[in-house]
């Protein structure tokens, strides 16, 4: 009787120890994309995509997360793509206009840097929300730029 009890206990233990990780991995197989730095759900309007020289892509929830991630890489990125806040279209980072304003785009990271494709949109945002256009070394992704 005692042997049967021990065996049942062992079986239940094995089921928990082996079954739970398998079940967890199976349930998480279709996860929506998350920020590669902090794991936050990505709002399409602020998405930044970094493509490494190897071709591997990483998505981020905002400019700040992408900058922090790039600062920790030994090799500069192959390409950085940002999202125009006015149209939600993806553009290369070197062609984008960055505005730092009072508006917090991503509250979790405190990101205040906004991305625009056209100068008119950027100026309009800067005027409306006490912002300024970032130039030269102040521009994000200066180091990670291909």
């Amino acid at each position: 009787m005692k042997v049967v009890g021990s065996r049942s206990l062992l079986l239940v233990g094995l089921l928990v120890v082996v079954g739970l990780p398998l079940l967890g991995a199976w349930l998480r197989r279709h996860q929506s994309p998350r920020c590669a730095l902090d794991g936050l759900a990505i709002d399409r309007r602020f998405q930044v995509r970094v493509v490494e020289r190897t071709g591997q892509a990483h998505c981020f929830c905002c400019v700040r997360c992408a900058s922090q991630w790039l600062a920790r890489q030994a090799v500069p990125a192959g390409a950085v793509y940002v999202t125009d806040e006015a149209t939600s279209a993806e553009i290369a980072a070197e062609r984008a206009i960055f505005v730092e304003s009072a508006i917090v785009g991503q509250p979790t990271t405190g990101n205040r840097v906004h991305v625009f494709r056209t100068e008119a949109d950027a100026l309009m945002h800067a005027r409306a929300f006490a912002g300024q256009i970032l130039t030269d070394a102040d521009r994000p992704f200066a180091r990670g730029r291909p």
Binding site: V17, V18, P21, L22, G24, D38, G39, L40, Q68, P107
Partner: protein, 347 residues
């Protein structure tokens, strides 16, 4: 005060514990845990009734203490959506930091709760071990030790429940957390910048930590297997001290391994080392951590049985109890090792 289902549960459990803890302490001080000298008298019967009441209340207090540990984390998790800048429990724990007034105490209250919860569980388990030993004797020689342990348990449980109540009641909704995510916080502060320094991102460091984690765990499991091999033989003091020391090392290395290796791998975020995120995103990893902690606690309880439960009457009972607890501890370490390895392999 943010009132939701978990807050109400916490308030109820903490209120109940705040009532029970002084009762348990009072009964311990009133001598409910002293040995009965005279048998078959009215006084002895009354004393026995009071003893059973004290025992039932203590068991209830231990159960509530145990339940309050996960409950407080579930409460913190339920608070996450209340601030737009908070993404996990870490952010909730930062609410109130640097504020003046009662709100400023929120982080300190949570730090206290994080220390008191495991200590309460250890004390409760230790008391139960001594109680089981005492029950098997004829003259109940461990009553005084049980009463002393209850004084500690009751006092700490009251402080813990009061801290929990205070945490729920203090207004916090209007507070703006200083950091909503550990990645941002460490990145900003730069000081504890384990995340930003790059030194810990080094694959070599992770490999070393992994080797230490597996090596120490396997050494401890082997030591326990050897220590519990012979029936009817109590592991010597030196053996137990070595196992306890090994357990502390495994606990320290296991904590580092969890933060620096397991969390980034399981969350698939190489720069994210916030173990609180496992609760919401990889809950089965919390089971592995719980099994690991059960192993550590059982090892500590074996030491309590060996050193606090020893007297001439319990002498023949101690080897079985210590060996049993060491076996539970060993299985805890084995189970957690297998589970964590499997989870890391599947991540």
């Amino acid at each position: 005060m943010i009132l939701n289902g978990y807050a109400i549960l916490v308030l109820f459990a903490a209120g109940l514990r705040l009532l029970l803890a002084p009762l348990v302490v009072g009964l311990a001080l009133a001598g409910s845990w002293r040995r009965v000298q005279a048998e078959c008298t009215k006084g002895a019967e009354r004393h026995e009734d009071r003893h059973y009441l004290a025992m039932s209340l203590t068991l209830l207090l231990i159960l509530l203490n145990l339940l309050s540990w996960p409950l407080v984390y579930l409460l913190l998790l339920s608070y996450v959506p209340h601030w737009s800048g908070v993404m996990c429990i870490y952010g909730v724990m930062e609410v109130g930091a640097g504020s003046t007034g009662a709100t400023g105490y929120l982080p300190a209250l949570l730090r206290f709760l994080q220390l008191s919860k495991p200590l309460l569980l250890f004390l409760g388990g230790g008391w139960l071990v001594l109680y089981v030993l005492n029950r098997q004797t004829r003259t109940a020689p461990l009553m005084q030790r049980l009463a002393i342990m209850l004084l500690l348990l009751g006092t700490l449980a009251a402080a813990d429940a009061a801290a929990e109540l205070a945490y729920v009641v203090i207004p916090k909704k209007d507070e703006v957390p200083s950091a909503g995510c550990c990645t941002t916080a460490f990145g900003n502060r730069g000081g504890p910048a384990r995340l930003a320094s790059g030194s810990l991102d080094d694959g070599g460091h992770r490999r070393l930590l992994s080797a230490a984690y597996y090596g120490c765990n396997l050494a401890l499991i082997l030591g326990m297997t050897v220590g519990t091999r012979r029936r009817h033989r109590l592991p010597g003091s030196l053996e137990l001290v070595l196992m306890l020391f090994g357990g502390l090392i495994v606990l320290a290395i296991g904590s580092l391994f969890l933060v620096d290796v397991a969390v980034p791998t399981l969350l698939e975020l190489p720069y994210h080392r916030c173990p609180y995120d496992l609760i919401a995103q990889v809950p089965e990893a919390v089971v592995a951590v719980t099994i690991f902690l059960a192993g550590c606690f059982a090892l500590g309880w074996a030491a309590v049985a060996r050193w606090c439960g020893r007297c001439p009457e319990t002498e023949p009972l101690i080897p079985g109890m210590v060996r049993g607890l060491l076996r539970i501890s060993r299985w805890g370490f084995i189970g957690s090792l297998i589970m964590m390895t499997l989870e890391l392999a599947l991540a």
